[in-house]
């Protein structure tokens, strides 16, 4: 843990730093689109690809084993890279872990922020959100990340803080707005719900946990559950 003393190194190499800059700009170019027939990756592009590969491999390994039990040798092998290469891109194991969570969560933030954009009743918005959440998060690798946060968050306060700031508080703020809108429109009768947006999200989180822990033995119809929960919030409107 607290190994790596300050050391007396001074890092003659003024280089290194620019790697980040180049990688960052090239990051957008990444792989993905293959419409192009010829693709001669230059140095910066290859570096960005490597970085990407390390993050992806790290995601797989960390979600499979947790932070402490993950071996960087395995991450390197899975990424098709030498172990030392990891340290060209990330300061240490923890930095990789944080960057990985960071990267994987940006899309989540996007989703949460975009939800209110669509029109319709608040109930419709939440119903759509529930379906999207189950399909895109609870039952995918993104769900593993959420579980990873819950699992390791207590051991990485800075990670928990980041997650709270960037995802939880924003998500809850958006949800509160939505609830207030529902109250104003007369869709939601209990005004106190706006005090605890967590209530609306809770079953979705339980769905994520359930899927990861018990999903194989006792599958849960998460979408159906979330709809029943919405019935509680908005009052039943089953067609029966």
């Amino acid at each position: 843990m607290k190994t790596a003393k300050a050391k007396s190194r001074k890092i003659a190499t003024a280089s290194s730093a620019n790697t980040r800059a180049v990688a960052g700009s090239a990051g957008g170019a990444t792989s993905a689109q293959t419409g192009r027939p010829a693709k001669p990756p230059n140095r910066a592009e290859r570096a960005a690809q490597r970085r990407e590969a390390i993050i992806t491999a790290g995601l797989d390994e960390f979600t499979a084993r947790g932070f402490a039990a993950t071996r960087l040798d395995d991450v390197a092998r899975r990424a098709g890279v030498a172990k030392g290469t990891i340290y060209l891109h990330f300061k240490d194991k923890e930095a990789l872990f944080q960057e990985l969570v960071r990267t994987a969560l940006v899309p989540l933030i996007g989703n949460l922020a975009a939800a209110p954009a669509a029109g319709g009743s608040v109930r419709d918005i939440l119903e759509r959100f529930a379906e999207t959440f189950v399909r895109e998060i609870a039952e995918t690798k993104r769900g593993d990340i959420v579980r990873l946060i819950v699992a390791e968050g207590a051991r990485f306060p800075s990670l928990a803080d980041f997650y709270f700031r960037e995802v939880v508080s924003r998500g809850l703020a958006a949800m509160r707005k939505l609830i207030e809108s529902g109250i104003a429109r007369g869709e939601i009768s209990n005004a106190r719900l706006a005090d605890f947006p967590q209530i609306v999200v809770a079953p979705a989180l339980v769905a994520v946990m359930w899927h990861g822990l018990f999903g194989r033995h006792a599958p849960l119809d998460a979408v159906a559950m979330l709809k029943v929960h919405l019935d509680l919030i908005f009052g039943e409107r089953r067609v029966s």
Copy 2:
């Protein structure tokens, strides 16, 4: 794993050592409750106490660091015992971990089973249960165990299975009974709730997670939240 080589040890130094032993035993004598005037612990009792101490220490260490990062040296020190002693009581680290979770969960099962015993309306029962849950679990070390299950459950399928069998399925079954009773009594209008007892429990679980991850920075009035949630389930009954 596959150790057990021949070895070529010799160790001439038989010196010192015993001084430490005396100090160690003196420290271990500690113990807590001294209400009893005479206490002649025989061999079996002392062994049981040791075992207990190891489990308690293990609980503290595992909840603080997770499975992989916990050192048995620390567990031993915290228990006031030598490391070897742990192996007199448990086959290995994993056995200690499982036994510890097992032991710590028995009380939880008791709580869940006892809930319906008390009389009153279903709403009253659940309200009492919510208060108890927050006071005795969410904000105590028991909550850490729940988080520990979520954290390590994916890595220990047998542990997740045990937890599901012994706690989750029983707890949900009891909750379903309660919900059905509420429906029969006319307290709960949405009959579909009985299909998803998870919904009733979800905010309580969120409270546990919240307390562990964000509690220090953003405290959550869990009891108030759970009551609002009960308002959703039973219909408002705020005196206003």
